[in-house]
């Protein structure tokens, strides 16, 4: 469809981790690529992230985390999305992940994990190919 609305993307930083260089670079790159970007800032709880995602009616959530606490926050976010009937929001992760954690995160519904060295262009291309605007809630 030619007149599809712009994709809305939430860039979020779960946990107490303050390493926000990657999140802010990605947020800017996605905005420059023509998406609507909302950035949460650092130190967000899973509850805050899901609440923002629902309020802002986003199509995708990009979670940036470098602290190693993803095994708590990522499953919790997926659980909360499900509870809110919003599991169709595409969730991806970026940051530092032990390789053996990646299949586990994908198994809980994280669609893609972008590790250090990922190219901005590849991430943007992935978003264009894999994320569609959510159907408006009834």
């Amino acid at each position: 469809m030619a007149n599809e609305r712009k994709l809305r993307i939430l860039v979020a930083k779960p946990g107490l981790d303050g390493h926000d260089r990657g999140a802010r670079v990605i947020a800017r790159a996605l905005r420059d690529a023509g998406f609507e970007v909302i950035y949460t800032g650092c130190h967000q709880t899973p509850e805050q992230i899901v609440q923002t995602a629902l309020q802002e009616d986003v199509d995708m959530i990009g979670l940036s985390i470098l602290s190693g606490a993803h095994n708590y926050s990522f499953p919790r976010i997926m659980e909360l999305l499900k509870e809110n009937n919003a599991e169709d929001i595409v969730v991806v992760g970026g940051g530092i992940f032990p390789l053996e954690d990646i299949p586990k995160l994908k198994a809980i519904g994280i669609r893609e994990i972008f590790t250090p060295g990922s190219k901005l262009d590849d991430i943007i291309k992935w978003v264009r190919e894999n994320v569609k605007p959510r159907k408006a809630a009834a």
């Binding site: 107490l16 802010r24 130190h43 060295g117």
Partner: protein, 565 residues
């Protein structure tokens, strides 16, 4: 007049020959053009093909360069530099529980490290105990979990705290953690007058870059001044602030931005301490700095030399310091974590070696070398030993520590040192015009300057204008690597012992101590209301880190990330 380094006639001759050489250069390029359209440092500062005496013809040796240990300290803060004592080899370490980190300290000391440096986990850095709901999944992951004075005792068990110096990377809760350190040391029989070390305690760069956020800027600065005041009177060997460029650089700043924003943070702390009524020469000698050593070798050396000269001039001219020690920019250096790659991780040893060499040639007082696996995780014993050995090889085998400031007089290094100072001074003028650093932070100015640089660098990487081997040149996959594992079970155990500790406390005594802390926080900032004595009493009475920080949050309010990008 003065001590210019070249005679006018020499400069005239060189100028003439230089013009001729440039013509030869242009001719040679017709046969074989330059490799790049533009040559620049990692910070994107354009550099020329050749530097000559012409680039430093106006320098005055005594005024601009001078001798080691003498104003303006361009060549080093100590007279003897590494001829008498090497830099302190201080590896940033913290993992899991206090016992695990204590074991790591002993391991590092047994392999020749000469100073301690504590990495705390995120809940500790943010002023939360391990049992806080905000701390789930974080215990011991990026550092050690410290909730109580008992954890502090476990952390330093078997270490002579009057002999070793300890650096603690802690910012909003710095006063609390320092109180625990002092209280524990006293419990163990050491004198606070003899304790040496550093608390990072640089709240301004948290707003600018590191984002360990707790309180708004003004009360944050008040607490910093309290610690400086207390240190000046009670813990005279302690460095009460480590004014840090490291995190500003890691967040994406250029070398000039790192230099300028950090020096300006320093200016702000000095102003605030003077406002409290402290005499500049009583406290300034205990201010220290912390620089990043990034991958562009000469740029880093020039930055560190420029930092010393700038700080000396600022302390002398702006703050009228009299004691030379007040003018010394003494600093720790850490190699650049953000220059490392997860791809082909063993290449990180080479990057770290180069960066460490720049730190040594830049005249650092202490140094942390990153481990090859720090892109993945806090380092394994195997990796951290290589990182420590890197410093030892540079110190004992390579000969770079034999001669003081060996790159002085290099036309390039001196010209680059000048340029660093000039461009950083531009920022300093701008920040003065904006009404100081707190006003600038409120306008999001340094944050956005850094974000712009970070984005520009990333775009240069994407276009191949800047090269990272294994990423955009000779790209490679991330390999599986044996890394340190933190057992998630320690979170439960830490919470369990925290709860037991809380039950054992004398509730009346504890409440009284916390009330006194609150009273002082609510009072006008002055020596009588300095938080440090109250904190030392409180942690001795069993107050946890979070209980003290909760008093701060309740009295001063909290600060949240403005989320700009």
């Amino acid at each position: 007049m003065g001590t210019r380094m070249f005679s006018e006639s020499a400069i005239e001759r060189i100028e003439k020959e230089y013009k001729e050489w440039l013509q030869d250069y242009e001719k040679a390029l017709q046969k074989l053009p330059e490799r790049l359209e533009r040559f620049s440092t990692v910070s994107d500062m354009e550099v020329k093909n050749l530097y000559t005496p012409l680039d430093i013809k106006n320098k005055d040796y005594m005024e601009d360069i001078g001798f080691p240990g003498c104003y303006p300290f361009t060549r080093g803060v100590q007279t003897t530099m590494y001829r008498a004592r090497l830099w302190t080899m201080r590896m940033f370490a913290g993992l899991g529980t206090a016992e695990q980190t204590n074991e790591r300290f002993h391991y590092l000391i047994s392999h020749g490290e000469t100073g301690l440096s504590v990495a705390f986990d995120f809940p500790t850095l943010m002023g939360y105990d391990t049992d806080s709901s905000l701390a789930r999944g974080e215990c011991g992951r990026c550092g050690v979990a410290i909730d109580t004075i008992e954890d502090m005792q476990r952390l330093f068990a078997g270490i002579n705290l009057e002999e070793v110096t300890t650096s603690m990377t802690i910012n909003p809760p710095a006063s609390v953690i320092w109180a625990m350190y002092i209280a524990n040391a006293e419990n163990e029989g050491f004198s606070r007058k003899k304790l040496g070390g550093t608390i990072q305690n640089d709240c301004l760069k948290e707003f600018i870059a590191q984002k360990t956020l707790m309180l708004p800027p003004e009360p944050s600065i008040r607490l910093v001044v309290d610690t400086v005041e207390f240190g000046t009177k009670e813990v005279p060997r302690w460095n009460t602030i480590s004014i840090s460029g490291y995190h500003i650089r890691e967040a994406g700043a250029t070398a000039v931005q790192e230099l300028a924003f950090t020096i300006y943070d320093g200016i702000t702390y000095v102003e605030e301490c003077i406002k409290r009524g402290l005499n500049v020469d009583d406290f300034a000698g205990r201010l220290s700095f912390f620089w990043n050593s990034h991958i562009d070798f000469f740029e880093e050396i020039a930055k560190m030399r420029a930092a010393r000269r700038m700080w000396a001039r600022i302390m002398k001219n702006r703050f009228k310091a009299q004691n030379p020690r007040s003018m010394m920019c003494r600093f720790h250096v850490q190699t650049a974590g953000c220059s490392l790659t997860a791809q082909e991780p063993y290449n990180n040893i080479i990057r770290t070696t180069t960066e460490a060499l720049a730190a040594i040639l830049g005249g650092c007082q202490s140094l942390h070398t990153n481990s090859l696996d720090e892109v993945y995780m806090i380092p394994s014993e195997f990796a951290v030993k290589i990182a420590l050995r890197t410093q030892q090889i540079l110190a004992y085998e390579v000969g770079v520590a034999n001669v003081i400031d060996p790159l002085a007089g290099s036309y390039y290094v001196e010209a680059l040192t000048d340029r660093m100072e000039e461009e950083a001074n531009e920022y300093i003028r701008k920040l003065d015009e904006m009404g100081g650093m707190v006003a600038a932070i409120e306008k999001n100015y340094p944050q956005m300057e850094i974000a712009d640089s970070a984005y520009r660098f990333q775009q240069q990487i994407e276009r191949g204008e800047k090269v990272v081997i294994g990423i955009n040149m000779f790209p490679s996959e991330i390999p599986p690597l044996e890394v340190l594992k933190i057992d998630p079970e320690i979170e439960r155990l830490q919470i369990e012992r925290l709860h037991k500790f809380k039950e054992r406390r004398n509730k009346v005594k504890l409440q009284k101590a916390l009330d006194e802390l609150r009273r002082r926080c609510e009072g006008k900032p002055c020596w009588e209301n300095n938080v440090m004595p109250a904190l030392i009493e409180a942690v001795k009475a069993g107050a946890t880190e979070q209980e003290c920080c909760d008093v701060y949050r309740e009295v001063f309010g909290t600060y949240t990330d403005p989320a700009s990008f």
